[in-house]
């Protein structure tokens, strides 16, 4: 009888220890979760939205307004208009307007967006499926997009810049 009583007491003690162990394990798991999500959380970038949207609109505005070097004081917008229509302008004597704008845009984006490790896609087109100028790669996820319409005879040309992220 006494033996049975002692055995019962041991069993109850073992169950209490097991209960305590489970509580400790649960508390540890909760603590790990809290540490993971509150203490070591990634710092939020509040400037990201402002920077990408300002960057996309200012970049395309400033680029289209820029005067081409050694090309009869024409702006990039005027060169794009020629690229979409007559293709009669030759910069530095031989370079067609399309190639000139592509090279100038490439040089500017190389020194800015590429240098800052920002992915982008720049397109100038009348028909979206056949762009006259294309630089960078299409964004796969979130992007800030700016479209600048350029009037040409009988249609409208679009200059579009997407900044990824």
């Amino acid at each position: 009888m006494t033996n049975l009583h002692t055995k019962m007491k041991h069993k109850i003690a073992q169950m209490e220890i097991l209960g305590l162990a489970i509580v400790v394990v649960l508390m540890l798991v909760a603590a790990i979760f809290v540490i993971r999500f509150s203490v070591f959380k990634e710092p939020a970038d509040y400037r990201k939205g402002f920077v990408s949207s300002e960057l996309a609109s200012n970049m395309i505005n400033a680029f289209l307004k820029t005067t081409a070097q050694d090309c009869s004081q024409l702006t990039m917008t005027e060169l794009l208009q020629d690229c979409a229509q007559a293709q009669s302008i030759r910069c530095r004597g031989e370079t067609p307007a399309c190639s000139y704008v592509q090279a100038a845009a490439g040089s500017i984006f190389e020194k800015t967006l590429n240098k800052w490790n920002m992915r982008y896609e720049f397109k100038a087109y009348v028909d979206m499926d056949r762009p006259l100028i294309r630089l960078g790669e299409a964004c796969r996820a979130e992007k800030k997009s700016r479209i600048f319409p350029i009037p040409i005879s009988g249609a409208t040309m679009q200059a579009k810049l997407d900044i990824c992220g």
Binding site: S38, V39, Y46, N58, A62, T66, T112
Partner: protein
Amino acid sequence: MKKSQIQIGETIAVLFVFFILVAVGFIFYAMVIKGNIGSEQDEASQLRAIGIAQRAMFLPELQCSKDVITEETDCIDILKLKTAEVLMKQRQNEIYYYDMFEFSEINITQIYPQITGLDKSQWTIYSRKRQNSPKFITNIPVSLYDSITKTYRFGILSVETFSK
């Protein structure tokens, strides 16, 4: 050992474990609070950086204008820029511009066309740096207008803001 002595020992052990748990909880709570304060400070610094960048973008001392009226945004007059570079560094104007730009550095760099020879391609209009302090760099593309040749160049307005 008497039964009462054992019970006192047990109570002391329980209290010891309890206080250790309280201490661990307090340290953990302090860490969380510290993290929250850090992220709030970071948010305030980032918002201040945006404010300073916007003030620099719309600075009348630099903006292109015609007959004293601001003609277009995102445009900097190179002639004004050369004057502002000197004006903004003058001792009597220091406090006025410090109220506006706090601890920051504002640079304007010409990107296209590429400068050759002795022409200047970078202007620092304001510089008040802070050592060993985290900084945010905001780059804004702008047009640089040359009112002599009546041409536009492509430039970058770079605002480096130092946290308090």
